[in-house]
Symmetry: C2
Subunit: 252 residues, 2 copies
């Protein structure tokens, strides 16, 4: 049983995971990080989605390349980007987006480990890790290598989505990788048109988040509605999600 | 250069692909197959999403296990399920959903090849193949092994989604795997509440489908709106998508 590493200077690592892609995991990761920073916590965001890094574009940092400096140990260290009070690193900053490399297998796991350990994070209260969707070797090896304080599972309300999310949650279970589950975030829970504030359209069904939370003996931390502006910028999205995410923040 | 195999009895193989998960690729695959069957074509649907097979649940066939019969060649052959006039096979029919196996690497590719070649499809005009999201070894090796008549890329309207979809489309390009691109389907294009039929809410932005189609010199085959009932059953969804998909059918 390997001893798990801590990341120098980082107090808590919180993983944001999902069973399948497209449920809003990266959106939730980005907004959670921005909100923690606004509350005064030293916050980092590690885009661990090595196959499809979406954090650079969300923060309007696409085509930025990471700055590298030589450490005293002779290794190269990456300097995280800083935006909205969050320190950010992503494989997207190592490779220009038009030359997107298809990271496979051991290469991906190795690249991810370097993002964790060869980035100069400084003192960090909370590091939010945007995992790739689903359960794979990249996720499993990250959990085996690093001490993770807790995980949040993002799902949409449909029954179909819960089936996928369940597999994601099972990976963290006590009889599996044994990582505490902080809770479930249900995203795209309903849509309320601005001009009809009394109407709620359940475009993707209802109940998925609560079902999943109960099944895994954890909390439904928040329900985030479909908001047109969320897709546009991370910061704008953060403001909109504020009310919903009050619960997430209390969870810390 | 390996010679690509044809599947016994199958005239045309059409792949439905996407750049990332959650854009509705499986939904589009299922509905396209049902509509072709309704038009009188002998239709098959191969759920090639070996990591996250969603076709069984969409057709309300979850927990059905595939029937196997011995071929004259001593190999075991799978009998496809039949529903709504479509012959269906999926890795989901080999493994009960609560014992979901995490298929990795070579195992996944081999399992997929068997779904193609060791299923008794009979005479088929169109086989719709629901690819896993993105571009990976499973997809690449399937394209290398089997003669594919054409591919359809599914995307949502956001700029962010187009970036991902672009990588999916590039895999098929003439200078890459060289598979004809029949066109792009843009899904979740807007939402019109039933009680306000004159209103259109662009919840996920606009323009992604057309941008992608133009970039790859192909057609925007259809724009499918967000429809509450789509998430509920495949058949119901097929009826709702009919008007939109008239274009897809003309494309054949
Ligand atoms: N609550 C929401 N309202 C509107 N759009 C959303 C919401 N959450 C996510 N999106 C959009 O849906 C798409 C998928 O979200 P993303 O965070 O990339 O999902 P994932 O990381 O699970 O693949 C993105 O374009 C994002 O902007
Ligand atoms: N046009 C639509 N309107 C409403 N819900 C949709 C639509 N298209 C897909 N969905 C729902 O969105 C979720 C993701 O769709 P899915 O086909 O599984 O995506 P993918 O195969 O790309 O991962 C499913 O729950 C599906 O029912």
């Amino acid at each position: 049983m390997l001893t798990k590493s801590r990341i120098k200077g980082v107090k808590h690592i919180i993983v944001v995971a999902s069973g399948k892609g497209g449920v809003g995991k990266s959106t939730v990761s980005a907004n959670l990080a921005i909100m923690l920073a606004k509350k005064g916590y030293k916050t980092a965001l590690l885009d661990a989605d090595v196959y499809g890094p979406s954090i650079p574009k969300m923060f309007d940092l696409e085509d930025q390349l990471v700055e590298v400096s030589m450490g005293e140990d002779g290794k190269e260290y990456m300097v995280p980007m800083e935006k909205y009070g969050v320190k950010i690193n992503s494989i997207g900053f190592l490779v220009p987006s038009d030359k997107a490399v298809i990271w496979r297998g051991p290469l991906a796991g190795g690249a991810l480990a370097q993002l964790f350990t060869q980035t100069v994070w400084g003192d960090i209260d909370y590091m939010i890790v945007d995992f790739p969707p689903g359960t794979g070797d990249v996720q499993i090896s990250a959990i085996q290598q690093f001490r993770i304080s807790g995980a949040i599972i993002v799902t949409t309300p449909q029954v179909l989505a819960v089936n996928d999310a369940r597999k994601g949650a099972e990976m963290f279970a006590p009889n599996n990788m044994n990582v505490p589950l902080f809770g479930v975030v249900e995203n795209m829970s309903w849509f309320t048109p601005k001009q009809h504030p009394e109407e709620k359209y359940f475009l993707f069904g209802q109940g998925g988040g609560l079902t999943l939370a109960r099944e895994f003996n954890t909390t439904l931390l928040a329900q985030i509605p479909l908001v047109q502006e969320v897709g546009e910028t991370a910061e704008k999205g953060a403001n909109l999600m504020d009310q919903n995410n009050a619960i997430i923040n209390d969870a810390f």
